[in-house]
Structure formats: C-alpha cells, structure tokens
Assembly symmetry: C2
Homo-oligomer: 708 residues x 2
C-alpha cells in the first residue's frame, strides 16, 4: 500500500522544514516540562502534612462541593459544546454541502478543534481545583510552623494551576496548528476555550457571589455569627465559590486570552510567511520557560513579606523573558522589530498592573480617601469609589492605546500586514508571563481558604495572623493580575479584529464576491450603528449577571433561614447544617442565570451581522471592545478599592471596626463584590467570545445581510 498511515505521517514530517519541525518539537517539549513541573509541585503539595481532623473534614466538603459544581457545569457545557460542534461541522468554515469531496474534512477538523479547546481548558481547570482544595488546608497547617513554609505551600499550589494552564494552551495550539497546517482551525480551538471560559468565569462568578452575599446577609447581619462560622449552611459554598470563581474561572479566562492572542498572531503570521510562525511559538515557549524558572525560584526570605516575594518572582520572570527572547533573536535571526513589539506589550502590561495597584492599594490616596468619605455615610463611600474607579480607567486605556500605536509603528517598516502582526505580538508579549500571573492569582483563593480553615479549625491567634497577612498579599496581587488580564484581553481583541478582517477578505475572495474590505470607517453608518449596539452589550451583560447574583442569593437566603428554623440544635452548634443544599442552589442558580446572558451576546452579534453585514460587525466589535474595557476596568477597580477600604477601616482607621465608617465601608464592599468577582472579569471573556463568533460567522454575514 502506497498510502499507508506510516507513509502519510512520513510525508507530513518531510513537508515540515527543519526549523518548523524543531519549533513543533520545542513547543511540545516545553509544554511537557510545564506538565512535569505541575506534577512535581502537585505531589509536593500533597506530601505536606495535614493533621487537624476538623480541617481535613472541612477540606473534604470544599473539595467535594467544588467538584460537584465543576461536574454540573461541565455537564451543561458538554451539551452546549455538542450542539456548537455540530453547527460548526455543518456550516464552518463553509456549509458542508458546498465543500468538495474530501474538503468536508475541514469542517470536521474545525469542530474537533473546537471540542479540543473546551477539553484542554476544562482539564487545566480540573487540575487547578484539585490542587487548590488540597493546598488550602495544608497552607493553614503550615502556617503553624511560620509564614515562610505557609507561603511556599500556597504559592506552589497556585503554581500547579499556572503550569497546567499554560502547558495545555501551548500544547493545544501547537497540535492544532501543526497537525492541521491551517491557522484558521485555531479560531475553532480558541472559540472552544472561550466557550469554556464564559461558563467558568461567569458561572463561577455568579456561584461565588451568591454564596458570599447569602452567607454575609444571614450570618453576619441576621444571626450575628462570625464570617467563617461552620454553623452557617452557606459557609462551605462560600469557600467552594473562591475556588470555582477565582481558581477555575480566572484560569479559564487567561487560558482563553493566551490561546486567542496566539491564534490571532498565527493567523496573521502564517499569511505573512517567513519566520513569523516560528517566532510566535518560540516566544510563547520561552515565556512559559521563564515562568517555570520564576516559579521554581520563588521563596520568601527571612526579612521579606509575601507581597514582595510574589512581585519579585514576577519581575524575575519578566526580565528572563526579555533576555531569553533577545538571545533567541541573536541565535535564530528573528526580527528585532517583532521583539520590540512584544517587549512594548510586556512593559505596558506592567504599567497597567501598577496603575491598578495604585487605585486599590491601601497605602495610596484613593483607598484612604474612600475610607475617609465613609465617615460621612455609605452614599459617600459609593460616590468616592465610583469616582476613583472612573479615574482609574484612564492609565490603562491610554496604555493599551499606546501599546497598539507603538507596536504598529515599530513593525510598519517591515511591509504590508506587519503592523497588525506587531499588535498581535504585543499581546503575545503581554501574555508571555501568564504562567506566573496565574500562579500568583490562584495563590489568592488558596490562602483565603486557608485563613477560613484556620479559623474554623481553631489554630490560634498566631496562625491566624500569618494566614491573614498571606491573604492581604493575595488581595493586592489580585488587583494587579486583574488589570493585567484586562489589558491583555484588550490587545488580543484588537489583534482579533485584524484576524476578523483577514478572515472576511479571505472568504470574500474564496466565494468570488468581488468585495475587498480595507477597514471599518466610523463614518459608515453601518459601522456606527454596530458600534453603538456593541457598546451597550457589555453593560447589558454585566446587568444580567448582577441581577442573576441578586436573585440567586435571595434563594439561598431563604434556604438558610429554613435550615435555622427546621434543624434543631443548629444555632447552638449541636447539629450540622446541610451544606450540600446551599451548594446545590448556588450551582443550579449559577447555570440558570448564566445561560441567558451568554445567549444574549451571541444572538445580538448574529442580529447585528444580519442587519448591517460585516461592516456593522466591525463596528460592533469596536464598540464592544471600547465599552467592555471601560466597564471591566471600572468595575474591577471599584470592587478592589472598596474591599481594601473596608480592610483599611477594619485595621483601626477612621473609627475602626464597628464604627459608622465601618458600616458604610462594608456596604461599599458588598456592592463591589459582584462588580469585581462577577461582572467585571467576565467582560474579558464576553469580548473574546463575541470576536470569535464574528470571525467564525463572517461567511454568513458576507452573504446574508439586509443593509449592505
């Protein structure tokens, strides 16, 4: 047989140039190293001692609750993904009946790539949750020995998630790209990642705030019991929420951004030819390598504090990435302009992080002024927070704009197509250290949980003080990583806008429509119409999620009241609450509230495309990016600012705990919770989903539209 599988594989291998083959091998190898690092860290965390029976028991509840939610969520997602894959197989990249013999395979490949995107992200989320729900109790136990060991346990637990996410995204992109040889199949993979991120981030966000709000409203307010009291039926759901929202959700979000930025760069890079595709993979692999080294060297010195330790390892990673890519440039002769664009992205990412930090750090003016305003009453807490959060949007938006402008002009002399490729590489650069970012971010909920567990397990004041300082560091770093995630999403979607344009023109040429679209002119009313509608979508999406949290929290409040009424001895601590009922309400509510919001974004995209064609979609994406970034920055920073203002007052300022200022600050914090943990961060994903849906459906909008 001439065409045996073996001979075909040989043919594929021979078709790759030596450099391409080496790149493929490098990507797979670095991904494998990341998985190995994740496995090593995982087994290290598992080996840490956990002797306290009470903590072990509660950890078991949290782990079980988290996996119940993940399984339910993935179950719903599987149905959604099945339907989406079927639609993709039938219609994309072109209706299957119009594809010639053999070419319908393209549709099948796209559908498979989509399913892989969801599966890879889900896998990374599973691993992250598994380790986080082990690391939390062990961090609490380690805190009895001192802050150094506790920090290491929390950080390494987070790093497992970081390594798994970035390893999976590099592996997935490399496999899809090199096996199919088709960059647009990557859009399918990326859309899969986005679908999962939408469920994980928005669903997890609704879950976590439902539990948090309900636990606070009944526990602190109605019953007067402390925050993490095990008598409260919602307390386990609250801890589960931290994991599913912040570990699995944030991981899926950054997996999505990372894949989307690589997909956009590869779609454009493969059209340009040359060393561009190789550059994308080498940079991504080196970023992952730098993150692994950064994670491995992270440690807390004797005189150091956890915040500096986290920041130090981030700086190590950043410097390493710049140095490694410069070395690769010297070695392989990549373009220095591309290096410049990616370095600009990295620098701007850092600036955005610093700006977010300024507006949410309790050593700075905004948090302190808001705490001061709280003395006058809650309305002034809100007004002051809203005002500073509005101000906080400026540096980040200017940063993203400058980064796009600079990377465009740096790469412009390289010829047509390069300027947009430069923007995509700027996004790749910003996301290069994403392994480190996720590690820092997943550290947050682990030490937050550890603090709660130390309280529930009665580990004593000294231990609580240590877990509290670990938790504070987690809050500060979280604001920075959120700013970073939003900035990266911003640049990525600009690159995706370029990818959308490229897709449109490719399809128009393939269909023989004789259309060539150069860009999206705001003076074109189709573009303008799309832009206004696109600007409203993030506001509507946020509103739907927040109203969902409200509705869901009310359901859980009813359940908690019922348990306190019906379970005899619960109030006295003699009987155990039914934790799983609350987890169940949070789970089913989150899924029920999430679906209309997700569908709304997709339906509106399709409507706009059908009304105004690809030009309206171009405007729609632009309006969506502009308003999405604005609102995401506003809500994330407002939430962080209120949270830290409350902490600042609780630390004894402006009247301290129990003062009127404290009551006002708590109200600010309650408003900020769904801002920063539900709506704000879910907007990243909403923007990416809409961009990818548009790219995938561009063929439809080219042929079927009313005004164009």
């Amino acid at each position: 047989m001439e065409n045996s599988w073996f001979s075909l594989m040989k043919e594929w291998y021979v078709s790759l140039g030596a450099g391409e083959w080496a790149t493929f091998a490098l990507s797979i190898t670095v991904a494998a190293v990341a998985f190995a690092a994740a496995a090593l860290l995982y087994s290290w965390v598992k080996k840490q001692p956990l002797e306290n029976k009470k903590i072990e028991e509660i950890c078991g509840y949290i782990a079980k609750g988290s996996s119940v939610f993940l399984n339910r969520e993935y179950g719903v997602l599987a149905k959604f993904a099945g339907v989406a894959a079927l639609i993709i197989a039938l219609f994309l990249p072109a209706p299957i009946w119009t594809q010639g013999r053999g070419f319908w395979l393209e549709n099948i490949v796209m559908a498979l790539a989509y399913l892989c995107g969801t599966a890879f992200s889900a896998f990374a989320g599973k691993i992250g949750i598994a380790v986080a729900t082990k690391a939390n109790g062990r961090t609490a136990a380690a805190a009895q020995k001192g802050i150094g060991p506790a920090f290491l346990c929390g950080f390494r637990g987070g790093a497992v998630m970081g390594m798994a996410v970035v390893g999976a995204s590099l592996l997935g992109v490399a496999l899809v790209f090199w096996l199919t040889g088709d960059a647009s199949a990557l859009l399918g993979f990326s859309f899969g990642a986005s679908s999962l991120a939408l469920f994980a981030k928005a669903g997890g966000g609704i879950f976590t705030k439902t539990a948090d709000v309900a636990a606070d409203l009944t526990g602190k307010v109605e019953l007067g019991i402390p925050e993490d009291d095990p008598r409260n039926p919602a307390v386990i759901a609250d801890n589960v929420g931290d994991n599913v929202g912040d570990v699995a959700g944030m991981g899926a979000d950054l997996f999505d951004s990372n894949v989307a930025s690589m997909a956009a760069a590869l779609v454009m890079g493969s059209l340009l030819g040359g060393k561009n595709v190789v550059t994308v993979f080498v940079y991504a692999a080196l970023g992952l390598l730098a993150s692994i080294i950064g994670v491995a060297t992270a440690r807390m010195g004797k005189r150091s504090n956890p915040t500096s330790a986290l920041n130090y390892s981030t700086y190590v990673t950043t410097a390493l990435f710049a140095a490694l890519t410069a070395g690769a440039n010297l070695l392989f002769g990549f373009s220095w302009r591309i290096w410049g664009a990616s370095t600009v992205g990295l620098l701007v990412g850092t600036v955005i992080g610093i700006a977010s930090d300024y507006f949410t750090d309790d050593r700075r003016m905004p948090v302190r002024k808001t705490a001061e305003a709280s003395e006058t009453g809650p309305a002034f807490t809100i007004l002051s927070g809203v005002s500073y959060a509005f101000l906080s949007t400026l540096p980040s938006l200017v940063g993203i704009g400058v980064s796009a402008l600079a990377s465009y002009y740096i790469c412009a002399p390289m010829g047509e197509g390069y300027p947009l490729f430069g923007i995509a590489m700027s996004a790749v650069g910003m996301l290069s250290i994403v392994g480190m970012i996720i590690s820092n971010d997943a550290y947050g909920p682990i030490v937050d949980n550890a603090h709660g567990l130390a309280e529930m397990g009665g580990l004593g004041e000294d231990t609580l003080e240590i877990t509290d300082s670990l938790d504070s560091a987690g809050n500060t770093v979280k604001a920075v990583t959120k700013g970073f995630a939003i900035g990266a999403a911003g640049l990525t979607v600009i690159a995706l806008l370029g990818a959308f344009l490229a897709e449109v023109n490719e399809k128009a040429a393939a269909m023989g429509l004789g259309i060539h679209i150069d860009g999206f002119d705001v003076m074109n009313p189709n573009v303008f119409f799309g832009m206004l509608v696109g600007a409203a979508v993030p506001a509507v999406f946020s509103a739907m999620l927040m109203l969902g949290v409200n509705r869901n929290a009310m359901r859980m409040v009813d359940e908690i009241r019922r348990q306190f009424k019906e379970i005899i001895g619960l109030r006295e601590g003699a009987a155990q609450p039914e934790y799983d009922k609350c987890i169940d309400i949070a789970t089913s509510g989150a899924i029920r509230e999430l679906i209309p919001a997700g569908l709304m974004t997709i339906v509106v995209t399709v409507l706009v495309g059908v009304i105004g064609g690809v030009e309206s979609i171009g405007g729609f994406l632009t309006g969506n990016i502009v308003s999405g970034l604005l609102l995401a920055l506003f809500m994330s920073n407002a939430g962080g600012l209120w949270d830290n203002s409350k902490k600042y007052v609780e630390a004894g300022h402006n009247g301290g705990k129990g003062s009127p200022a404290h009551k006002a600050a708590v109200i600010g914090d309650t408003v900020g919770d769904p801002f920063k943990d539900t709506a704000g961060p879910a907007l990243n994903t909403q923007i990416t989903v809409v961009s990818l849906v548009s790219s995938l459906l561009s063929g439809l909008f080219l042929t079927l539209s009313i005004f164009s």
Copy 2:
C-alpha cells in the same frame, strides 16, 4: 462714494436669492414671535398674585442668590471667553499673519461669532432665571386656589425659558449665517454656546448638588429638622441650586445642542447647495412655531393630571411639526427624503423618551424591584439600580444607531454628501420640538421650589398636596426630557463628526497639503489610540465633577455647623441664618471645581491631536461619543430610578417612611443625585465641546502632529 454702507447693504441684499431672503426673514420673524410670546408669558406670570409676605421674602432671597451665582459665573466665563476669543482671532480659521489683506476679517468674524454664542445663551439663561424665581412663589400661591391655576403658572413660567432659548438660537444662527455668508463661522457661534453650556451645566450641577447634599447631611441627618426648614443656612442655596442647575443649566445645554445640530446641518447643507440651507431654516422655524402653539394650548382639564397635560402638549407639538413640515414640503418642493430623515429623528427621540420613562417610572418594574431590593439593605439598592441603569442604555443606543442608519440610507440615493446631511437633519428633527422640551423641563424646578415655598410659608396640607403632585409630574417628565437631550446630543455629534471631516478636507485642500481623508478606519492605530483615550475622557470628567461636589459639600457642612454653633437662637428659630455665606461657598466652589474638569477635556483633545493628528482626533471623537452616551444614559437613568424608588417607598410601599427599606432608598437617592444632576447631563456638553474644539483646531492638527 461708490462703496457707501448703504450701497454695500443693497449689494448684500441683492446677492441673496428671493427664496434665501424669504428664509432669512422667516427665521427672524419666527424668532421675534417667540420673543413676543416669552414677553407675554413673562408679564402674565408677573401679574399673578403673591400675597404671603413670608413667601415673598424667601423668593427674594432665592432670586438674589440665583443672580449672585449667575453674575459670578458669567464674570468668570467672560474672562475665559475673552481669552478664547483672542486665541480664535489670532489663529482661526487660519493664523492671522497667513491671511491675505482683508481676509484677517475672517478671524475677527469667527471671534465675534464665538462671543455672540456665549452672549445669546447667557441672555436666555438670565431670562429663564428671572421668570423662574418669580413663578415659583406665584405657583405656590396659585396652588391655594387649585391644581389647574397652579399648573398653568408653573408651566407658563417654564415656557418663558423655552421660548427665549429657542428664539435666541434661531435668531443667532440666522444672523451669523446670513450676515457672514459662511457656514463655518457657525462653528464659532456653536463653540461659544458650548463654552457657556459647559459652565452653566457643570457649574450649576456642582452648585445644586453641593447645596442639596450639605443641606440634607446637616439638616435631616445631624439636626433632625425637615427638608425645607428655613432655619437651615443651606436651604436657600438648595433652592437656588434648582434654578441655576435645572433652569439655566438645562436651557444652556439644549441651546447648545440645538445650535450645534443646526450648525452641522448648515455646514454640510451649504456645501451641497440647492434648497438644503433653506430647508434647515424652514424646519427649524416650523419646529419653533409648533412649540409656540403647543405652549399656548397647554391647559389642565378638569379630570386630567399634570403629567398627562405635559405629555399631551408634547404630542400636539410633535404632530404639528410633522404636519407643518409636510405642508412646507408640498409648498416649496423640498425633498421628501430629507423630511423622512427628520421625521425618523423625531420618532426615535420619542422612543428614547419612552425608554427612559420605563426605567424611571414608579409604575414600572425597575423602580419597584429596586424598592424591593432596598428591604435587603442599601448595597442591594445600589446593585439593583446600577443593573437596571446598565440595561436602560440599550434601547437608547440602539435607537440612536437606528436613526443614524435609517436617515443615512433614506438620503443616500440623493447623491454624495447627502447621507451625512440626512443624519444631521435627523438631529434637527429630533431637536425641532426643543422649545416644548425646555418648557417642560423648566417647569420641574419651578414647581419643586413652589413645594418648598408652600412648606416654608405654611400654606397648609391641601396646598402642599397640590404642589407635591405637580412636583411628581415634574420628576417623571424630567427623566423623559433628559433621555431626549442625550439622544439629540448623540445624533448631533455624529453630524459634527461629519462636519469635522468636511472641515479637515476643506482645510487640507486650502493649505495644498494634498491629503484627502475619506473616513476614520478603526484598523488604523492612530484612530484606535484616539478612540481608547476618547472613551476614558467622559469617565474622568464625571469623576472630577463628582469629587468636586464631595469636596464642596464638605466645606458647606463645616459652615453650617459653624453657624449653628455661633449664631445664638438659630436652632430655636429666633435668629436668622446667614444664607448668603452658603450661597457664596456653593458659588466659588462650583467655579473652582469646574475649571480643571473643563480644561482637562480641552488639553487632552489637543494632546491627542498633536500626537496622532486628525485621524487620532476622529477616533477620539468616536470613543468620546460612544462612552459619553453610555455613561450619560447610565448615570441619568440610575439617578432618576433611585429618586423615584425613594419616593415609591415614601408613598408607603416596602415598609414606608422610616423603615430600613426607606433608609436604604435614601442612600440610593443620595448616590443618584450627583449622577443625574451633575455628571450625567454635563456629559452632553462635554461631548459637544470636544467635537467643536476639534473642528476648530483641525488646521493645527493637520500641520502639527507626531505620528501621522
């Protein structure tokens, strides 16, 4: 002498065609009719009896306080306008030393047009305040006779402002346009109107909320005295605030939008030639005529209520305008397509008004759900209000988008240049009934003041009930007119974007730069950069105004506390507070806080233009429009919603007055006050100012920019 003044005038007259001359005469005549109507109504209001000495005295304080503020504000504005006029005379439309002999007159004309813009608007504002501070007491007195006479007095007082504003805008535009024969001089006039609106709207907004917040914080909260108690030193400032914020501010805002929409239409119409210029003037004159008739026929039937009476006269005006313009079309053979575009604008304006009403009316779900959420605590009042206000942006943004899209395509078959002219005519159509809108709007603060005066004058329960029901109607109608104002500003700035493009190309041709810009492509990084910065500006502007209100209110609170401490017998009502000290603080604080915000918008515009040239400015304006509309709708509707939720609870629902829900609703209302009365409505003006600055400086940006 061959060239005597007389012979030159004759030449000017002969140069106008008969149709043009008739149009000029029509505009002047209708404007004169409007002034006559205003004068008649004014003398009617003045003739109404006011016998209560106490009320007369307080009215005197309010009138004096208002005119102190206006004079101080106009004084500062005069300096600002002087400097601006000098800059205009030196640099615009082109640096004066580059203008040939005689042509430097163009610069002088531009500067004079600018000064006229400020003066006309200031004049209308003066008249409005003069009548409002007479009508308030007389409405209170009339309420003793019944709701019918009281309604008429309040409404006619407001109508004086409506007639004066629209008369002045039509007169000003006609004079500038026909005497200079140059449409771009209108941009100078329009910029003058915008400068004044910025001062009046933002300054008045800071003033009114400073007084309101300070009066509430000390009076209701600290001292436990009722809202309009004359012992409170801030009570007169609070009443003054209603007049300077809502009468003078809103009037200047709509004067500005009205002038800007006509200017944009005339800039494009005069380039197109034909009957277009005549059409603009005839439509504007007929709109004013329809408003005059609507005002004249407004009356409250025996079985009617004030809300229906206000809405009824609005519908009469709308229908009359459509009918009158259709008649003019038949008579003069104007294009039916242009008529279609302007009617679309009128219809969409109504739809936007209805949508705003839905989200702020206490018979609808959003207000009721927010009142219900208040039972759970203030955080939920805020979250629920924010969510519904986010949702409320969708219908208005879609409406503006549809209106732009429809009017573009309706006029597209008429040839090049017409589609954008169609959008401008759609804005003219939306603003055609602006006389009626301002009348309704100025009615609000008059009856609000009347209610306060009835309370202070002790006119008894029956009278208070009547003034309260007049006030409620004012609140409902205010939400509608605010939505309308924002929608009109949105369409106007789209038209101004077109005017900017036309200016740029005209200048580029005149300078022989060999540049022709077709539009603003969002894929161009200069455009994108500008867009992101432009999107941040409304957020930063709002934040600066709101922080200004906070700072200023704190100053006034200190003053009130001082008076209660130092003035012996004040608490017991034996001594009189020093009202003027509070008015003084509000006045100087408003001006001090306003200037940085105003300068910021202009400086950022210049910076963006110098960095990225006209393309960045195109993007900047686009981002500014999109985010400005989004935030303006969000803040205005949130504020209206919270205000009415509070009123709904006070009417006895969800626990009624004094309940926890009421306390929460009051907090929502306090947050909403600067949203809806300071930041939200000032954004209209901010957008227009930036658009006009850009058009005026387009020559600078063409020659002096770094990245283009």
